[in-house]
């Protein structure tokens, strides 16, 4: 049948112009965004795919350099920071406009930040504003008067933010989508300020202030953003359009890339990495990414309540083997938790792979050569690579510690439920940083941390975290981070495995797409050019 069909369609010809070539001629970037966005409201959406689109259609007070993401002027053309590091005064540019032509003013930011902190909105990333004075108190209903929150409109082009404590990385935090402004009249018109599910984010309704505007959004099919004529820096913007596709399957997107339908993929199937590395390295990118793959250990459940047992487990994981034989995407073996080089911080405390030491620790914990060690369970959510890694670790512990671990595969929401209720013994986990500062990794292990889920509670660690809140000198902060990480590694409530990379394919003619650890690529700096000009 296939043969007959081939003959029947023989007249079709086999040299149709590739979509990428046609799109390039028109200045249209075709990229796969991974999944369908849940919404395009920057104050309620949480996913990576949404943020990728926000980078095109929104701009905050500060923006980010495409190379290393250091803060650069955005809607604010400059800012002043008070000597104590608590008060930030932003001077907005006069020519910043919304896509409908309205000017972007300090009041827009005030109203937008009021909106996200309104408890009824139910924004997941509300805590990103808790750096601001009284923001948490307002969000949790402890105070009702928003004027007590540290936001102030000095005049239409001057906006002031007062922080609770000096936060040296605050300007970087402001590049998170939760700090982008929304066009309040549009939000009010299509649904109201406090409703999460509202129609103002649909194409045709949506008013934005970024380099591009949302022109078309067909569910599960296409999101088209076109260059904004009202953007203050339109002359810098080289692309005319960006088309985002929501292709979930990495195999499908790789085929689409090969068929000339995409300039860039979202990821690359593990099995294809060696081929591209060998045959088409010009298309392959492997870049460090601010994330750690690790296992949580439930420290309330014996024998995992003994730090020696946890350390023995951690030391028996051959991380090098996992990244070289299983993940194969250039990931780095993680012998500590925070990814190296995060805002000039690299952890000194390590958990090395040391089988002899691990056996010794297990013996000291009362299980010489694994004898008497109860059967434990390792839980992971459904994904082939999670299973492979779990099986490899199961084998490593069997061979090196002579202990038997069972594996439990759970569907995503069931897994989340088990993790939230700490109804597990050991479970797979990952953490991707929202902003490049070690605090974003280390604050989750304090007592009562919403993402702790291990039951680990170390008073010394908690005290260091409290001290960190009143420290703004970079060297002092690094010193505190080192102490916190040392405690974390010494007690091992988590078992680090590897630090993430982003592995994807990109056409060589796409320029201005620089590697950076947050995988942020401000589209206004992206253009098409000759491959030789590539980095």
């Amino acid at each position: 049948m296939v043969l007959a069909f081939s003959l029947m369609l023989g007249g079709l010809g086999c040299h149709k112009e590739k979509k990428t070539v046609l799109a390039q001629e028109q200045g249209i970037l075709l990229i796969n965004n991974g999944v369908e966005p849940e919404d395009l409201d920057p104050q309620t959406a949480t996913g990576v795919s949404e943020h990728s689109i926000f980078l095109a259609i929104y701009e905050g007070l500060v923006s980010e350099d495409p190379h290393d993401l250091h803060p650069v002027p955005g809607v604010a053309e400059s800012w002043d920071i008070s000597p104590d590091g608590l008060v930030y005064t932003f001077h907005l540019r006069k020519d910043a406009k919304w896509s409908n032509g309205d000017p972007v003013t300090a009041q827009d930011f005030y109203d937008s930040y009021h909106r996200i902190l309104t408890p009824e909105l139910g924004s997941d990333y509300i805590y990103m504003h808790f750096f601001t004075k009284n923001a948490e108190a307002y969000a949790t209903g402890k105070i009702k008067d928003f004027s007590q929150v540290g936001y102030r409109v000095v005049d239409p082009l001057t906006f002031e933010i007062t922080l609770t404590t000096a936060t040296p990385f605050f300007l970087s935090v402001m590049n998170h989508a939760s700090w982008y402004p929304v066009h309040i009249p549009t939000v009010k018109k299509f649904g109201g300020l406090a409703r999460k599910a509202a129609f103002w984010t649909k194409a045709g309704n949506c008013v934005t202030n970024g380099a591009f505007t949302l022109q078309e959004w067909k569910q599960q099919s296409i999101i088209r953003c076109v260059k904004s004529r009202n953007y203050w820096d339109a002359k810098t913007v080289k692309l005319n359009e960006i088309v985002f596709y929501p292709i979930e399957s990495s195999n499908t997107e790789e085929r689409a890339f090969r068929a000339g339908q995409l300039h860039k993929t979202n990821e690359l199937p593990l099995s294809k990495i060696p081929w591209y590395r060998e045959n088409r390295p010009d298309l392959l990118r492997q870049e460090p990414y601010l994330g750690t793959y690790f296992f949580r250990v439930n420290t309330r459940k014996p024998p995992l309540d003994n730090p020696k047992v946890r350390l023995a487990l951690a030391m028996s994981i051959d991380r090098k083997m996992i990244v070289e034989k299983i993940t194969r995407g250039g990931q780095l073996p993680a012998d500590s938790y925070t990814p190296p080089g995060t805002a000039n911080y690299t952890a000194e405390a390590k958990i090395p792979t040391d089988f002899a030491k691990a056996r010794q620790l297990l013996a000291e914990a009362g299980y010489p050569d694994g004898k008497g060690f109860p059967k434990l369970d390792l839980m992971f959510n459904t994904l082939e690579s999670h299973r492979t890694i779990a099986e490899a670790i199961q084998e490593m512990w069997r061979n090196n510690l002579h202990i038997d671990i069972g594996l439990t595969n759970l569907e995503w929401k069931v897994y989340l439920d088990a993790q939230d209720t700490e109804n597990y013994q050991i479970c797979r986990a990952a953490w991707i940083g929202d902003y490049a500062d070690p605090q974003n990794f280390l604050d989750m292990w304090v007592k009562g941390g919403g993402n702790n889920h291990t039951g680990w509670d170390n008073p010394e660690y908690n005290a260091l975290y409290a001290k960190l809140q009143n420290t703004s000198i970079p060297a002092d902060r690094i010193s505190i981070f080192q102490k916190m990480e040392a405690l974390l590694m010494a007690e091992a409530p988590i078992l680090p495995v590897y630090w993430y990379t982003r592995v994807y394919l990109i056409r060589p003619e796409v320029q201005g797409w620089y590697p950076n650890i947050l995988d942020h690529h401000p589209y206004k700096y992206v253009w098409f050019g000759k491959p030789e000009a590539s980095h």
């Binding site: 068929a259 339908q261 439920d417």
Partner: protein, 305 residues
């Protein structure tokens, strides 16, 4: 027939009610909720979200509210896709699935019926063995194997069609073949069986004895009865194809209903699960009714009772 149709329509009401009830309580009983995420949200945020969507109310009240709104045509908002309603999502994705299903069914019938008839007319010859072997292959080769093979061959190597998407006619061909080939195989097998059964009956021998030509025997006498098993199969087959196929939609990135049908359960998108299940159930009920009517029209021994 009017009475028959009225009774069947009335029977559908309790069926849909039972399906809605079972689905509602099963999906709410599953661990995890629509707003549970890897990054834990503050209790205040979770409380506010639950209040906004009415999930803070007792389950029986939520059930009553859902039914009341559903009866009035409001299937509610999607919990996953915040700026879309369930009706909108079904309305956007169903035409895509229906079109894909239409082309797939057309391919299935165009291949399956002639192959089955040919095999039945010349049993135990190469005209029987060859199509039936291909049909067996069609049944055995899963769509997740056939789809990528077609995409690699005709999308990438020969560049005749696109390897993914749903924008032009070039995008329709490969997913329709992938989906249709599997159904074609079943139709060929069923047609062959049905036709063989009929061709061995007395009235066919009588027709031949009276001097009817083979073509007349085939089209006038045999096809009516021979296709009855195929018609029975077409109801659920069409329903399955026009409500989409998750696998084919994923392989070719087709924005159809099948993806919502599967993923909404994983996302605990309660309203979307209920909406797609009720929609799917209605389609099956409707198509089964059409099949029943067709069977009565084709088989004089059956009646509308």
């Amino acid at each position: 027939m009017f009475r028959f149709l009225t009774i069947r329509a009335l029977q559908a009401i309790p069926v849909l009610l039972i399906i809605a009830t079972m689905t509602f309580f099963m999906v709410h009983a599953a661990p995890g909720g629509p707003f549970s995420k890897e990054r834990k949200v503050t209790p205040e945020v979770l409380r506010n979200l639950n209040a906004q969507y009415g999930l803070d109310q007792p389950l029986w009240k939520q059930y009553g509210n859902y039914l009341w709104k559903a009866v009035h045509g409001d299937l509610g908002p999607s919990y996953k896709y915040a700026n879309r309603t369930v009706s909108e999502l079904i309305g956007d994705s169903f035409p895509v699935s229906a079109e894909l299903g239409f082309w797939a069914m057309l391919i299935a019938l165009a291949i399956g019926l002639p192959a089955g008839i040919l095999a039945a007319l010349k049993p135990n010859s190469w005209l029987d063995y060859l199509p039936m072997s291909i049909a067996m292959l069609g049944i055995c080769i899963p769509t997740f194997v056939l789809g990528p093979v077609l995409a690699l061959t005709f999308g990438i190597r020969l560049e005749w069609f696109d390897a993914s998407g749903w924008f032009s006619w070039r995008d329709r061909v490969l997913p329709a073949i992938t989906l249709g080939f599997f159904t074609a195989a079943y139709i060929a097998r069923l047609t062959r069986g049905g036709m063989l059964d009929v061709m061995n009956q007395d009235f066919i021998r009588t027709a031949r004895a009276k001097g009817a030509s083979e073509l007349r025997v085939l089209f006038h006498h045999a096809l009516r009865g021979g296709l009855l098993p195929v018609i029975s199969y077409l109801g659920p087959a069409i329903a399955a194809e026009i409500t989409g196929s998750f696998v084919v939609e994923t392989i070719f990135n087709v924005p159809g209903l099948g993806r919502y049908f599967i993923l909404s359960a994983f996302n605990r998108d309660y309203t979307m699960v209920l909406g797609t299940v009720l929609f799917y159930a209605s389609i099956i009920i409707l198509l089964n009714l059409v099949v029943d009517v067709l069977q009565v029209l084709l088989n004089p021994r059956l009646r509308f009772d």
